[in-house]
Symmetry: C2
Subunit: 581 residues, 2 copies
Amino acid sequence: MSKIIRVNMSNLTVKEEAVPEKYNLLGGRGLTSQIVYDEVPPLCHPIGPNNKLVIAPGIVTGTAAPSSGRVSVGGKSPLTNTIKESNAGTKTSQFLARLGIKAIIIEGQPKDKNKKYLLKVNKTGLEIVPADELSGLVTSATVNKLLEKHGDKVGVMCIGPAGEWLMANAGVCFNDTENRATRYSGRGGLGAVLGSKGVKAMVVDAADTSGIKLADEAIFREGQKKLVEALRTHWVTKPGGALNSYGTAVLVNVLNEAGGFPTRNFSSGRFEGAAKISGEAIAEMVKIRGGKGTMGHSCHPGCIIRCSNVYPNPDGSEMVSVQEYESVWGLGANCGIDNLDVTGELIKLCNEIGLDTIEAGVTLGVAMEGGLANFGDGKKAIELMQEIGKGSPLGRILGQGASFTAKALGVARCPTVKDQGMPAYEPRAVKGIGITYCTTPMGADHTAGYTIAPEILSVGGKADPLSVEGKADTSRGLQAATAFLDSTGYCLFTAFAILDIPSGLEGMVETCNGVLDTKWTVNDVGRIGLETMRTERNFNEAAGFSKLNDRIPEFMKYEPLPPHNHVFDVPDSVLDNVWEF
Amino acid sequence: MSKIIRVNMSNLTVKEEAVPEKYNLLGGRGLTSQIVYDEVPPLCHPIGPNNKLVIAPGIVTGTAAPSSGRVSVGGKSPLTNTIKESNAGTKTSQFLARLGIKAIIIEGQPKDKNKKYLLKVNKTGLEIVPADELSGLVTSATVNKLLEKHGDKVGVMCIGPAGEWLMANAGVCFNDTENRATRYSGRGGLGAVLGSKGVKAMVVDAADTSGIKLADEAIFREGQKKLVEALRTHWVTKPGGALNSYGTAVLVNVLNEAGGFPTRNFSSGRFEGAAKISGEAIAEMVKIRGGKGTMGHSCHPGCIIRCSNVYPNPDGSEMVSVQEYESVWGLGANCGIDNLDVTGELIKLCNEIGLDTIEAGVTLGVAMEGGLANFGDGKKAIELMQEIGKGSPLGRILGQGASFTAKALGVARCPTVKDQGMPAYEPRAVKGIGITYCTTPMGADHTAGYTIAPEILSVGGKADPLSVEGKADTSRGLQAATAFLDSTGYCLFTAFAILDIPSGLEGMVETCNGVLDTKWTVNDVGRIGLETMRTERNFNEAAGFSKLNDRIPEFMKYEPLPPHNHVFDVPDSVLDNVWEF
């Protein structure tokens, strides 16, 4: 990948730049975080003219490497005010890579805040096109309108109304394999950054481009083979394995059994209705209802894990893609809701309005605690979500996320770190993931250092979830590995296989070497990951964050969580230790 | 003053404690800040059970010292998340002092969040009384209901609906000389802390108490005489002087002339309608309309400055007290409104709902910029304020203050520091006050270090408002003097006289010596003030704040302000220098 495209929305100019040498070995999150660190004033207003949005495919994205179609989106987060990277699986990423685009940097801000623009990318470059006709459209309508004009082979990135309204829970949406508007760089409100720049959408046309030129094809092929083999072997990632058969929601019963499944705004670790929203239940519904329902769906071409799904209506027509673990948890258990048709409807609304489902779920849980609905009231939950889509005053509250909603309603039990809603793992029942929530530069984020692997799944080791012992090291190690992985363009779920199968990890590193002409070994993975983490931490420190922001919400320190009745008893010194390297 | 009363709202118990020796020489802000520092976990949730609300009269409050009826309210602020002290002038403070109460500390939180309580204070002690009948009442109704039962001689502290709804702009209200519910410890949302503890009100009955026993009556009398003399001589504070004749709004024309009068959400330093909302205009209306209208009103017995007023309706009946400078600015010029009847109505709504008028004014300005009303639309401004009183979703946004409203509406031009709305002086036109806004532990606050005195009024020296030169020293010096003054119980407006008249300052210090049996000289004032500031700063640092939070809103650094067309060009090093002592 040979160029960086700089888009200035203040004066509507585009500049193509050679990739500076220091960025040569970076991709995905490693690159977005480095550019944000280098170019964004840490104290800038996230929706002001000085923030930037950076879009970058991973190192191996666009090649034949398996499950590597991730795109990273980075900037200063309107939700957390920290640096932020959020990635999605989409062919759009592969198209950017094939066009030789290492990164797109969107900066500045149009004077007229009502104007909307489209970025048109193809082999001749990038063009800024007025696109007021897309204003206010939900994401599916946006994608459909763009496909009509630009053909159904393009990759699309867009925002929904939430992004146009600069809501802190606005995600950046991409099209999936069949052009649904369902793949999200969801976390951290980067959709609002795009909205603040007047960019409603981007179409990426990779027609007439040759494939990616490999620096060392032999090494690449060797690595690819090892990695594919590992993915096809591991119980989590193999065809017919856990993810492929039941989707990510295979975790519902597992976490519920472990007492770490946050229920009714994090007031219990076990939900009596868990089985009804589990991956097994989703698969059963797909089987019973038939029609358009699909398990083992892939978010981008070339994925061999295929953990996605398409959930059907009772009549077999398509309701929504995807009933993910995090989504059925947040919009289900966390709201006391045990009905997949309700979670499906809520996910669909999130997709259409342009919201992160995790933040939306945590927000609804807080809203219910604040008295806006009873826990378990699916009808009211749907109405609340619709308010966001209307941009009503209530919607303006809910669209800003969980911390904001808690403040508006006077709720002190707010499960957020750095103002980002916690995902579907209870820190009081799974201590390591709490350490990750607290210490990652991203705000509460499970993907940043997924200690659930050893603590619950016995993947990459085995650890007692209720114990604090050794967990700073576990979290740091996984955070570093993830920072590396998020830079390669590989899906995070490849981690299950490479944590347990050494040759898989070797293979992954070799594919990178094949693209970059490096001599990395598996020993470089941690080092590279820690470098990216340090860069992100440095940005946050310059933005006013310190270890004092790496803390669990206060109520989790004095309120024991059933069924284990543990509080979050991780000492501050253990949290701080994550950054002592 | 001999005792501290500790009120535990978790188990509804009351404990009287002897004053620890380390608190002996403290009062007012010095004492509330020290107790908050000593007892409140810096990272606690402001509306959770571990925050505390501390109420303390000043060192000389309750004596015959002139203009000394201030009460300090302290805690961790729901608005800024910093330590907070906000003080008001009210006989309630004098009554607490005469009852020998050095401080009341309210801690804990009732399990049932709907229960309301009244604290009943008299010579026999403090009693917690169920008071659900006060639930939801506006402040005037609360005060009136309490007076019916407890007689019209009591001091009252209460919150309005805003405090009950835990809004971050909820103030703590006290009764004035004639029992209006109009005197506010307004800034920083401490009313929400009271609300979170289930305390709707407190009545203080000082019947049958003897006066305060002076340690050295001779010194006290000597000091009192000098201070009275200074106050009666200085052009700002003397009878028939600037404050007494025109109220604080005498500043409107002065600041407007200086180009430092923030207009239409801080987009200009000059307002074409300024004269219509000036102190002179208020006095003229009082004169023309007659009836209940009064200039030279006092907020508490024993004030000799008497800067307050009662503003009449066209028919001479009472509309509102007080048309203050900050209030007519925030709810007037900052919203493009040039009509005193409109500002009067808006102030009345703030008083009744229980809101700080400054934060409310900055919030309305942001709301207008965000499209909720046109600048200058008084009718719509009143409707927006009424929404807060309804607790509607829109009201829940506006009631949380300016930063919150800006976020909800996607407005990046938000004039706040540490999430507290800026008062009525433009930092781009008056650089020193900007330094105070940035560096005081309280969030944007003019009273914390009123550099307007030398920069605009030539009081306590003379400095060019547009120059940065020497302003860190000016701000630090005034911040220290103010921290001392806020601890004495004297009104801040005594500062005008003591800054210019050395014997006045001597007299003030001597009255403190007369009460405390100390040997302080004028040279101790700065030292004592800096000690309080350092304590507050230490709390904030432990709460996660650093010099990176001592920064002006970004837009003021790139958007020049008419008419001088200056940006805020104070280097970070100058801001940081304030704390280098």
